[in-house]
C-alpha cells in the first residue's frame, strides 16, 4: 500500500442521536485503484461514503484529499476538487432530457477549468455509457437500467479524480451488469473508483482492494482473495 | 437629583402596570388556548394551518349569532345564550374543520407546502363567507354575568378572571387527554410514524380529521371566551393568527410545553406593552424575533435542542 493515499480518513465517527453509525479508525484510498466497500445492510456503508464526499459532516475525525484537509469543506467544493458521488436511489432529473442531465455536471466542470464545449463534453459522457442516441429523450421515461447508467454518466461528466458509486448495479439485468463491469474498468484507467456493492460477482470481478464494514467499523481490508479467506468476514457476511 | 427623571421614558404608575399585567393575563390565557390548537395540528399532522385565525373568528361570530338568537328571539337570560354558544360554536367550527380536512388537506396528502397554500385559500373563503352572512360590522356579545372584583387600586371585571380560570382548566383537560388517555396515545403514535400507525390498525384518516377539528375547536372556544371583552368582527382572525404563529414558533414547533410558556410570555408582554406603550412596535419586534428564531434556532426558544 502506498504511503500517502489520494483520499484518506482518520478517526472518522458519525453519530445519529445515540447511535454510532460510523467509526472508522483509518481509511486510505490509493490513486488509480478500484476499491469496493461491502458489508451487511445497515453496516454504515452509505453513511461512510457520504462523510467522504461531504453530504454529512462527521462528528469526529479528519478527512484529507491529495494531502489537503477537507474535513469541513462543503460538499459542492469537494466535487469541484474532483470527488464525485452518484446516488444509491436514482436521482436523475426526470423532467429534463438526458442531455440536460449530463449538461449540468459538464457545465460545472467547464466553469471550473474550461476546456471543450458544453455539447462535446455532455455528449462524450452520454457516449461512454451508450446513451448518446437518446440524448433528447426525457430522462424520467427511460428504463431503470438506462436511468442507472445516466446517473453514472452524470458522475463521469464531472471528470472526477475519485468516482464514488453507491450500489450502481442494483436492479440491473445480468447483460447490463456485464456492460457495466466493462465500463467501470475503462473508467478506472484514469479515475480512482470507490464502489459500494452488494453483488459479490461484481465485487470480485472489479475490486482490487476490498474494505468490509460491519456496524460502522472496518472488519477487514485487503485483496479479494484475502477477504474471501477471512474467517471473520465469512462469519459476519459472506458465509451467512 | 431625581434619577427617575433621567430615564428616557416615563415609569408607569403601579396601578397602570397592574392593570397591564391583568389584561396581559387574560390575553395570555386565550392566546394559549388558540396557539395550543395550532401547535397540536402542526405537531401531529405537520400541517401549518394558516386558516387557524379564521376558525377563531368563526367561533366569535357564531357566539354572536347564538347569544343574539337566545336573548333576542327567545328572550332567555345572557348566561343561557352564552352557555349554549360555548358548546355550539366550537362544535360547528370543529365540523367545518373536519370538512376542510376531508375535502382539501387529505386530498393533498398533507404535503406541507401545498397545505399552506390551500389553507390560505380556506382563510379567504371562511373570512368572506363571514362577511357575506354576518356583514362588515363589529358587534358586542353580552357577558354571561356581571360582577366586579375589588382590588387594592381598582375594581376589576370578574368575568375576565373567569376567562383565565376556564382557559387554564381547558388546557389541563387537553393535556390530560393527550398524555393519559388512549385517544392521546393514538394521536401521538400517528405523530411519530403515519404508515406504521396505519399498519397497526389506527384509522389515521379519522385521527387526522379529529386532530384538525380539535385544533380549530380550541381556537373557537378561545374566541367565545373573549367575545364579551372584544367585539366580533369578520376581520378579527388576523391578530390571533399572527400571535399564535409567534407563540408556536418561539415555543418550538410541536412542543406543547414550549407553546404554553411562550403564550404566557407573549401574552403578558403584549398586554403590558400594548397597555402602556405602542402595540405596533411590540408586534414589529415579535415578528422579527420569530423570523430570527426560525433562521438561527429552529427548535424554538423554549423547546429542547433537537438531536
Amino acid at each position: 500500500m502506498a504511503a500517502i493515499g489520494q483520499l484518506t480518513a482518520e478517526g472518522l465517527v458519525k453519530d445519529f442521536g445515540g447511535l454510532r453509525a460510523v467509526d472508522v479508525t483509518s481509511f486510505t484510498l490509493n490513486k488509480g485503484e478500484i476499491r469496493a466497500v461491502i458489508g451487511p445492510n445497515g453496516a454504515g456503508k452509505t453513511t461512510f461514503v457520504s462523510l467522504l464526499c461531504g453530504r454529512f459532516a462527521p462528528s469526529q475525525g479528519r478527512i484529507a484529499f491529495e494531502g489537503r484537509d477537507i474535513t469541513t469543506m462543503p460538499a459542492h467544493e469537494r466535487v469541484a476538487l474532483g470527488i464525485a458521488y452518484t446516488f444509491q436511489i436514482t436521482s436523475i432529473f426526470g423532467n429534463l432530457s438526458l442531455y440536460d442531465n449530463v449538461a449540468l455536471p459538464a457545465q460545472r466542470r467547464i466553469m471550473l477549468d474550461g476546456g471543450g464545449t458544453l455539447r462535446e463534453r455532455a455528449m462524450a459522457a452520454l457516449d461512454r455509457v451508450g446513451l448518446a442516441d437518446r440524448a433528447q429523450e426525457q430522462a424520467g421515461t427511460q428504463s431503470y437500467g438506462h436511468q442507472r447508467l445516466l446517473e453514472v454518466a452524470m458522475g463521469l461528466a464531472l471528470a472526477p479524480k475519485v468516482l464514488i458509486l453507491d450500489e450502481p448495479t442494483q436492479g440491473l439485468a445480468d447483460s447490463e451488469i456485464t456492460d457495466f463491469i466493462a465500463l467501470i474498468r475503462e473508467v478506472a484507467e484514469e479515475t480512482t473508483v470507490l464502489l459500494i456493492e452488494h453483488n459479490m460477482p461484481v465485487v470480485m470481478a472489479l475490486a482490487e482492494q476490498i474494505t468490509v464494514l460491519d456496524q460502522g467499523r472496518v472488519l477487514a481490508e485487503g485483496s479479494p482473495e484475502a477477504i474471501r479467506a477471512d474467517a471473520a468476514v465469512q462469519a459476519a457476511y459472506l458465509g451467512g | 437629583m431625581d434619577l427617575i427623571a433621567l430615564l428616557p421614558f416615563d415609569l408607569p404608575h403601579p396601578a397602570l402596570l397592574a392593570a397591564g399585567m391583568l389584561e396581559g393575563t387574560v390575553l395570555a390565557a386565550v392566546l394559549a388556548l388558540t396557539a395550543l390548537g395550532l401547535s397540536i395540528v402542526f405537531g401531529i399532522m405537520r400541517v401549518v394551518n394558516v386558516a387557524h385565525g379564521e376558525f377563531y373568528m368563526l367561533g366569535a361570530v357564531l357566539a354572536w349569532f347564538v347569544t343574539h338568537t337566545v336573548s333576542g328571539t327567545v328572550g332567555g337570560p345572557p348566561w343561557l345564550g352564552f352557555a349554549i354558544a360555548l358548546i355550539v360554536a366550537p362544535l360547528i367550527v370543529a365540523a367545518m374543520a373536519a370538512l376542510t380536512d376531508w375535502l382539501v388537506l387529505k386530498r393533498l396528502d398533507y404535503d406541507p407546502e401545498a397545505t399552506i397554500v390551500a389553507t390560505i385559500g380556506v382563510l379567504y373563503i371562511i373570512q368572506q363567507l363571514a362577511l357575506t352572512f354576518y356583514g362588515p360590522d363589529a358587534r358586542p356579545v353580552e357577558a354571561p354575568f356581571d360582577f366586579r372584583v375589588q382590588l387594592p387600586w381598582f375594581g376589576y371585571s370578574g368575568y375576565k378572571l373567569v376567562v383565565v380560570g376556564a382557559a387554564i382548566a381547558l388546557m389541563l383537560v387537553v393535556w390530560l387527554v393527550l398524555t393519559r388517555t388512549k385517544i392521546g396515545l393514538v394521536m401521538r403514535a400517528t405523530q411519530y410514524d403515519r404508515e406504521t400507525a396505519q399498519a397497526f390498525g389506527i384509522p389515521v384518516d379519522k385521527v387526522y380529521a379529529g386532530v384538525f377539528a380539535l385544533g380549530a375547536a380550541l381556537a373557537a372556544i378561545g374566541a367565545v371566551l373573549i367575545v364579551p371583552i372584544q367585539q366580533a368582527h369578520y376581520l378579527m382572525g388576523g391578530d390571533p393568527l399572527l400571535l399564535s404563529f409567534i407563540v408556536v414558533i418561539l415555543g418550538g414547533l410541536g412542543s406543547l410545553k414550549g407553546t404554553l410558556v411562550a403564550a404566557i410570555f407573549i401574552g403578558l408582554s403584549d398586554g403590558i406593552i400594548s397597555t402602556l406603550y405602542e402595540p405596533t412596535l411590540a408586534k414589529i419586534l415579535a415578528t422579527l424575533l420569530v423570523a430570527m428564531v426560525l433562521v438561527f434556532r429552529p427548535q424554538g426558544l423554549f423547546g429542547a435542542r433537537a438531536a
Partner: protein, 331 residues
Amino acid sequence: MIRTIVLHAAVIAGLFLLEPVLSDYHHGNLARIMVLATYAVGYNMLFGYTGLLSLGHAMFFAAGMYGCAMLIRLAEWSVGPAFLAGVLCALVAGIIVGTLALRTIGVGFMIVTLMFAEAAYLVILYYNEFTRGDEGFTIPQAVRSIAGIDLSDTTNRYFAALLLFAIALIACAAIVQARTGRVLVAIRENEDRVRMLGFDPFRYKLFALVISATMAGAAGAAYAVLFGYAGATFASVQYSIFPLLWVLLGGPGTTLGPLLGTVLMFYLVDYASGTIMPGLAALVETQFGIEAPGLASAYLLLVGVTLVLLVLFAPKGLLGTVRARMIPWLP
C-alpha cells in the same frame, strides 16, 4: 430557440398594437396589469423556476414603491433617480432577506418570509407620520414625468408599463433558457443532487431571490410613478398572496404564465366586485329572502376558491397544463 424568441416578440408586439384599440377603461386596466404582471414575473423566477415559495414578496414590492415615492415626496427627487433608488432598495432588501431566509427550507422559508414582510408592513404603519400608513399618499401629477414625458398621460403610461414588462419578460426568458436557468430548475427538482454535481445551491437561490426581489421592486416603484399613489395595502399579506395566485393560475415555471394569470385574475376580481357579487346579493335577498349583508363586497371569496381549486386540481396552472398536454417546447 427561434420559436421562443418569436413567441415572446409576438406577445410584446401584441400588447403594443392593442394600445390604440383599447377603450379608456381597458387601457387603464391593462397598464396596471402589465405593472402587476412584472411583479408576477419576478415572483415566478423564485417560485416557478427555483421552487422557493415566498409568502412575503409584498415587502419587495413595497420596498420599490416606498423607496421611490418617499424620495419624491420628502426629498423632492425627480422620477428617474427616485425610480432607480426604489429598485435599489428592493435589491438590497432581497440580499438581506435572502441571506437570512435561505438558511431555512420549505415551510420554514415560507414562514420566515411571511414574518419579515409582516414586520416591514408594520414598520410602514408605525412611521405613519412619514408614510401616511394605510391611507397612503398621492404623488402630484406635476412631478410624474421623466425627460419631459408626462407619465400620467394614459398613452405614455401604457407604453411605460409595457416597456417595464417587456424588460422583465425578456430578462426572465433569457435567464431561464441559459445555463443558470438550467441549474435553477435542477435545484427545484432535487437540491441535494445539484450540490453533488458541484454547484453551491445557496448562491443560485440567492441569485434567483435577488432577481425576483428586484423585479418586484421595479414593479412597485413603477406603480407609484405611473399611478401616483403609495399605500400600506401594497405591503400587506394580501399583496404577497396575489403574485402566488397569479403565477399558480397562469402556470408556475412558464415565462408567459404570470401575464396570463394576472390578466385573468384581474378581470375576474374586477367583474366579480363590479357585477357578479352585487348581482348575487340582490338575487339572494329578493328571491330567497336570505340576509347576506356583506355578499356584495365579498369578491375576495373568488381568490380563496381559486387558490383551493388550483392547489387541488391544477397545480401546474394553465400554461403548465398546456405544456404537459400539447406544446412541450413552451418556455
